[in-house]
């Protein structure tokens, strides 16, 4: 351990959890380094989240996950509108299609009460069909969860990373951690492509690879088995069909296939749940897509008449344990934050708060930074708020906000320019898509693909 390590805290992984932890720690007088193997923040598992803002009503009572999702819901609900993360409170309807599924309702309500969710109520078939008229035939009834909502899975990690960087965080993208070892006299040495990085404290938020980092340090608490979830996104013209998040009654294995609006005004169908061998196997499959189309046709037949805008697959960092794998190894100064599944988006701020408390108890000095958090606001890419092209003030101040480049998603030239020059700038087409929605729409680049490629090409030169 050098006299003064390169950084105070190194966080491995800039997914939604790593970014939330970086943001949380950067509120204090600390040197924080955030390392991401991929080309961008939130570009691994986080970007393929089902994008629900969970209340945690259906978590297993008494678990850390149940507590952090409930707390995270409150924290993110407060933070999101403040910094411009799109959120929509549509409410959810958990629909029973059989007598057996309806028989699960009392247990679901009991668990929700144990989790502190008191806003659930059962809804009979008549009310269900009047509120969700395009549901397929045969629904028995539903449980309404009024506070469930949608949150932008792209803007959330970007907002955390932006606040962290504005507060002094050293964000390094395309920087995979090749190995980790304990340094003599305390702290850790990380081997990176460009050399070594010494740190006093280490936070493992490596998602799918969190078990590998954990093993490098001699721990053997869990193994990540990637569980693939395939999703189909339907055209915006399908949006009027769906008013709520339509959930399925969960089984032991999966929460089932859901249909939900997205904050971008599309309709999402999915996910599948399938354990796969490789941690980079984000390919969709014929069988998965056929299964989803079958389920979609049963839940909401009219949905299938609409065009599919996108198909993608994400990998959940599932482990052999039912709960998040969060552990503070006090003497060495190592926090492991693994096994965070899809609820991690909703829970992210609470996970960060929890990890910060644990680090504090382990001896990390937490002196609040003078001056408070930085002032910033993310560009709005959600349909619930005003988009750039809808704002007369913005267009009057800069005509580039009136020049629409991506027609399907109505993304302006000004927004693309801003994304390429942001605090955490886009470095590739995928990054541009997540920051602006450009190229994410029904034409998938037929009209704007070449223009975006040219702009990225110009930027790279």
């Amino acid at each position: 351990m050098p006299e003064r390590p390169d950084t105070d805290v190194a966080i491995v992984g800039a997914g939604v959890v790593g970014c939330a932890i970086a943001r949380e720690l950067c509120r204090f007088d600390l040197r924080v380094t955030l390392l991401e193997a991929g080309p961008d923040v939130g570009a691994g598992t986080s970007k393929a989240n089902t994008a629900l803002l969970h209340t945690g009503f259906d978590a297993k009572p008494g678990t850390l996950e149940a507590r952090l999702v409930a707390r995270g819901y409150e924290l993110l609900s407060e933070y999101a509108p403040r910094v411009g993360i799109p959120v929509e409170r549509t409410g959810a309807l958990l629909v029973a299609w059989t007598e057996e599924q309806a028989a699960e309702f009392p247990a679901i309500l009991d668990a929700a009460r144990a989790n502190g969710s008191i806003d659930l109520r059962t809804v009979g078939p008549d009310e269900l069909y009047s509120r969700e008229p395009h549901l397929g035939p045969g629904a028995n009834g539903a449980i309404e969860v009024a506070r469930e909502g949608l949150v932008c899975p792209f803007t959330t990690p970007l907002a955390y990373a932006t606040e962290a960087v504005l507060s002094g965080c050293d964000l390094r993208r395309s920087t995979p951690v090749e190995s980790v070892s304990r340094a003599e006299g305390g702290g850790f040495t990380l081997t990176l492509p460009g050399g070594e990085l010494s740190t006093r404290w280490l936070v493992n938020a490596a998602g799918l690879r969190s078990d590998e980092i954990d093993r490098m340090l001699g721990h053997d608490g869990f193994t990540v088995t990637p569980r693939r979830g395939e999703l189909i996104v339907f055209d915006k013209l399908a949006r009027p069909l769906v008013r709520h998040i339509v959930l399925a009654v969960p089984t032991k294995i999966t929460k089932g296939v859901l249909i939900a609006p997205t904050v971008f005004g599309n309709v999402m169908l999915g996910p599948t749940a399938e354990d796969v061998d490789r941690k980079d196997d984000t390919a969709s499959s014929r069988s998965g897509l056929d299964y989803l189309m079958g389920e979609g046709g049963r839940i909401m037949p009219e949905l299938l008449q609409h065009e599919v805008t996108a198909v993608y697959a994400g990998l959940r960092a599932a482990t052999e344990h039912a709960d998040y794998q969060v552990a503070m190894h006090t003497p060495e100064g190592y926090a492991c934050v693994g096994g965070i599944r899809s609820t991690g988006l909703s829970a992210s701020m609470a996970i960060a708060e929890h990890v910060r408390e644990q680090l504090g108890e382990a001896g990390l000095r937490l002196e609040p930074k003078p001056g408070g958090p930085p002032e910033f606001r993310m560009p709005n890419i959600g349909e619930a708020g005003a988009r750039a092209h809808q704002r007369d003030d913005l267009i009057a101040s800069d005509s580039e906000y009136g020049r629409i480049v991506c027609f399907c998603e109505r993304v302006t030239s000004g927004e693309i320019r801003d994304a390429l020059a942001a605090t955490v700038p886009a470095v590739d087409l995928d990054g541009l898509r997540r920051r602006t929605r450009a190229h994410m729409g029904r034409c998938q680049g037929f009209f704007c693909g070449a223009e975006l490629a040219a702009r990225l090409d110009r930027e790279a030169r």
Binding site: S285, H389, I395, G402, I404, R410, R442, F446, G449, A450
Partner: protein
């Protein structure tokens, strides 16, 4: 009297020229691209302008020529401007660099064109690598942006536009490793196929589906499935071009509350190209995707004539009779009969089929009464056959829907 034309491609520009010629006062063309001209702007091969301008031109030359004719005729062409809101009964909201404005024209011609369905809409599974695109993107990359497009490309589709993609790839320095079609043979002109075979030696794989795409970060290989045997094989390539499989760009038509035709997926129109909403017309490839640019232009010209008559006070017919077709026919256009019998664009209805037929016998019936029975030219998927419009005078205005079917494949 203000007439707004939405879309400054061949159909929209031709409509604007005709409106100006018919002395319609204010003609506004709204074009969301930086330049007017539509898809021909980036289709750099020859063969444009034969049917409408009576001279052979390249795509870009045709686009420039039409834009200048329309501007010269007095049309107000607003480029970089897009309709951002419309509703059944409501005015149009336009957004451009100058800000937002609303406009409530006396007549509106929708000419918003079409696009190729992308890989996602075709539900082709696999990873999501770079290098997967439509012909539209490919042409713009090569001809408008002069960017590279990879080295080895697979072309999905074997229609006219697929051969245009082949030419574009050659221009961009890429080799086409093959063309696939799920049909038993290509759907372009024999001359194009023979020329392509001779010049590029590109194999054409018929009855073949693209069943998966693999690679990261760029395409590495594509899995092909033989539809007859079910056998799969892989082809190494770094680019996949999804061609044809056109769909009308119909978002505005849908949000404006127009009746849509289930076959064409464009607005349902009568022979005068009137939609279900008074004062609203539709033309070009929005009606049925896709036709060559000059055919779209003639459709625009046709809509302009009836739009001009409408703003001068001609009555809007209320009763509409649907024209329906049976498989293997996919659609017919125009697909509604209303008002006094009138001639559709080019004097005929366009018919599309999902199957080949060399000299099909077609029957037109209404309420079990045969109105017309005869042979038409050959049916080729992806290309329109023409059904002369003489029979419309025999339709009973108080009768049920008119049905069109193939009774013998010939």
């Amino acid at each position: 009297m203000t007439v707004v034309v939405l879309g400054g491609g061949p159909a929209g520009l031709a409509a604007a020229v005709e409106l100006c010629r018919l002395a319609t006062r204010d003609v506004i063309v709204v074009e969301r691209e930086v330049d007017a001209g539509g898809i021909p702007r980036h289709a750099q091969h020859q063969g444009f302008g034969i049917r409408d301008l009576r001279r052979p031109l390249s795509g870009p030359a045709y686009a420039r020529r039409y834009a200048s004719i329309a501007a010269g005729a007095g049309a107000d062409i607003r480029t970089g401007t897009m309709v951002t809101s419309w509703s059944p009964g409501g005015p149009l909201e336009l957004t451009g660099p100058g800000g937002r404005e609303t406009i409530d024209p006396d007549a509106l011609i929708l000419a918003t064109g079409c696009r190729e369905r992308p890989r996602s809409a075709r539900l082709v599974p696999g990873s999501r690598p770079e290098g997967v695109m439509t012909t539209g993107t490919l042409q713009q990359l090569v001809y408008l942006k002069e960017l590279t497009v990879g080295e080895r490309a697979l072309i999905v589709g074997a229609e006219h536009v697929s051969f245009s993609a082949l030419v574009t790839l050659g221009h961009g320095g890429a080799t086409a490793v093959g063309m696939t079609t799920e049909l038993p043979r290509h759907q372009t002109l024999g001359l194009f196929r023979a020329g392509a075979a001779l010049r590029w030696r590109t194999p054409l794989w018929t009855r073949t589906a693209v069943s998966a795409i693999h690679g990261r970060p760029r395409v590495e290989e594509v899995e092909l499935t033989d539809l007859d045997s079910g056998a799969t094989r892989t082809v190494e390539c770094d680019t996949v071009v999804f061609t044809a499989d056109w769909i009308p760009d119909h978002e505005l038509a849908v949000i404006g509350g127009l009746d849509m035709d289930p076959g064409t997926r464009g607005p349902a129109v009568d022979a005068a190209l009137r939609t279900s909403r008074e004062g609203v017309f539709a033309a070009g490839n929005l009606l049925h995707a896709a036709e060559p640019a000059d055919v779209a232009a003639l459709s625009g010209r046709h809509a302009a004539a009836t739009a001009a008559a409408h703003v001068r006070g001609s009555a809007w017919p209320e009763h509409r009779i649907a024209i329906e077709c049976e498989p293997p026919l996919r659609w017919i256009s125009p697909n509604v009969l209303s008002g006094e019998p009138s001639s559709p664009p080019r004097g005929s209805f366009a018919l599309r089929s999902t199957e080949f037929a060399s000299r099909p016998r077609v029957q037109v019936t209404q309420d079990d009464r045969t109105i017309w029975d005869g042979r038409i030219s050959k049916l080729v998927p992806g290309r329109s056959a023409r059904l002369a419009a003489g029979w419309t005078a025999a339709v009973d205005a108080a009768g049920g829907p008119v049905r069109v079917r193939v009774v013998h494949r010939g």
